[in-house]
Symmetry: C2
Subunit: 256 residues, 2 copies
DNA sequence: CAGTGGTCTAGACCACAGT
DNA sequence: CTGTGGTCTAGACCACTGA
């Protein structure tokens, strides 16, 4: 009898279980996960949900699919992934790495027009600005400049920001990540970055700017995260089907 | 009447047609694409292929889905996307931007151990190293350092590398992008970067390292692309389901 | 050859938006 | 309420892999 727990749809339950099994090493990298037929039997479902779950893991880079051969566990990537967002502390936990944070500044103030635009509030509306240093294995790794809407900011002020991840706390408050958009580029370290990340001013940093909205599409966070590139990279991997290339030119398909 | 062209599966045909319609502006940003039911009727297929096609476009950021509401066309992102790889020239064409390239150097030589490792060949095997400057609207935008296996390199030597994108040429030769892995970080410009990209030495650049393999998984390209961050960014956007966060903590779901 | 994943059908019921 | 997308079933046939 299938557990039928939570309100999660079957394909999500299967996905989460497989992800947990992979992260726990119960399926070794390079080894096969159970076949679709086996998963159907294990969960007593049809192929639909099973394929949905495995496809999702494949796009997230957990497994590698190819026709005819069993689906195998991918060699785990070194850095974070760009096609899915995991809060820093949760990512660090999943990698079994020590992490920490220091709050550098915390300011509740009236928003400038530019900030308001990014957060989708009216200029002059109250927002919370937060600057934190994030550590990985004791090394200063990232400077996080976040802005929150008044509603979320008020919640955060009641919380010990130097403690464990704030995302868990916000989730408990009913605030969670629905639609996330990220832009990645590079930027020279300014004086603040340089001091806290212990690099020279002007040194190249990897910047990720992120807006996060709830499931309802209402933005509640804007963040500018700057990483030391020697300590963190962002990865992605995917299959690109043969015909993605030319919408106009079919082209010869001569395979030696 | 459905064209029934190529050997492409239906869901790919539908996806390509929708992508073409979106890029051509036949569906305006923010506007709805045809409903699943309409697409089923138009293509005379069941919902399976239609949902597959739309889901694929959604993960690539072309459309935005939400339950109950029609699926709408996303506002086109400024930069390239990180969760799918499009060769530079093809990306530039899709954005209707002028582009060009200059080959800085081209070397066929025996591989060093490190290079061989990345390309998956034996140390000492012959490889082709290529350094090119890529231009966008006349501005030097990216320096590309690529290494190719002997087989692919031999093909490239027969080709005019300053002409239009080499990826189209390789596709005609039967070489195409199957499995692609990318790593994004930041790096200081070296002397070569600085001279060609017209920035100061040490200026921050956005680096994308990529290995490309065929559908058979055999690697044929390794590339180190360095972008001026003021001229190019990489974007991603996605939905993150509410339960992705805590595998352990269900948490209250109090929504004000 | 048997087993794998890839594709597709024709239904069904549900959750949610907007009227 | 109707129409939308979200999920799922129980079949089917195909393409590919490897023994």
């Amino acid at each position: 009898m299938t557990p039928a727990r939570h309100g999660l749809p079957m394909h999500r339950q299967i996905e989460e279980q497989l992800r947990a099994d992979i992260e726990a090493g119960r399926y070794a990298p390079g080894e096969a996960i159970p076949s679709e037929a086996q998963l159907c039997a294990m969960w007593e479902v049809s192929r639909g949900p099973v394929r949905h779950a495995v496809a999702s893991l494949a796009t997230q880079g957990y497994v590698r699919k190819s026709q005819g051969r069993p689906t195998t566990v991918r060699i785990p990537p070194i850095g974070q992934r760009v096609d899915t967002y995991t809060p820093f502390s949760q990512w660090a936990r999943s990698q079994r790495r020590r992490y920490g944070q220091r709050t550098i500044s915390l300011t509740m103030h009236m928003s400038e027009p530019e900030q308001a635009e990014r957060l989708g509030v009216r200029p002059g509306d109250r927002i919370l600005d937060m600057v934190r240093l994030r550590l990985l294995d004791g090394m200063p790794t990232m400077i996080e400049r976040s802005s929150f809407t008044d509603e979320v900011g008020t919640l955060l002020l009641k919380f010990d920001l130097d403690s464990d991840g704030i995302s868990d706390y916000l989730t408990e408050c009913g605030i969670h990540y629905g639609v996330v958009e990220q832009t990645v580029d590079a930027i020279a370290a300014d004086e603040l970055d340089a001091r806290w990340l212990e690099v020279a001013p002007g040194a190249p940093l990897l910047r990720v700017r992120r807006t996060a909205a709830g499931d309802d599409g209402v933005v509640w966070e804007y963040s500018d995260d700057r990483y030391r590139p020697d300590l963190m990279t962002f990865n992605s991997s995917f299959r690109r089907s043969a015909a993605d290339a030319g919408a106009g030119t079919p082209g010869a398909r001569a395979r030696p």
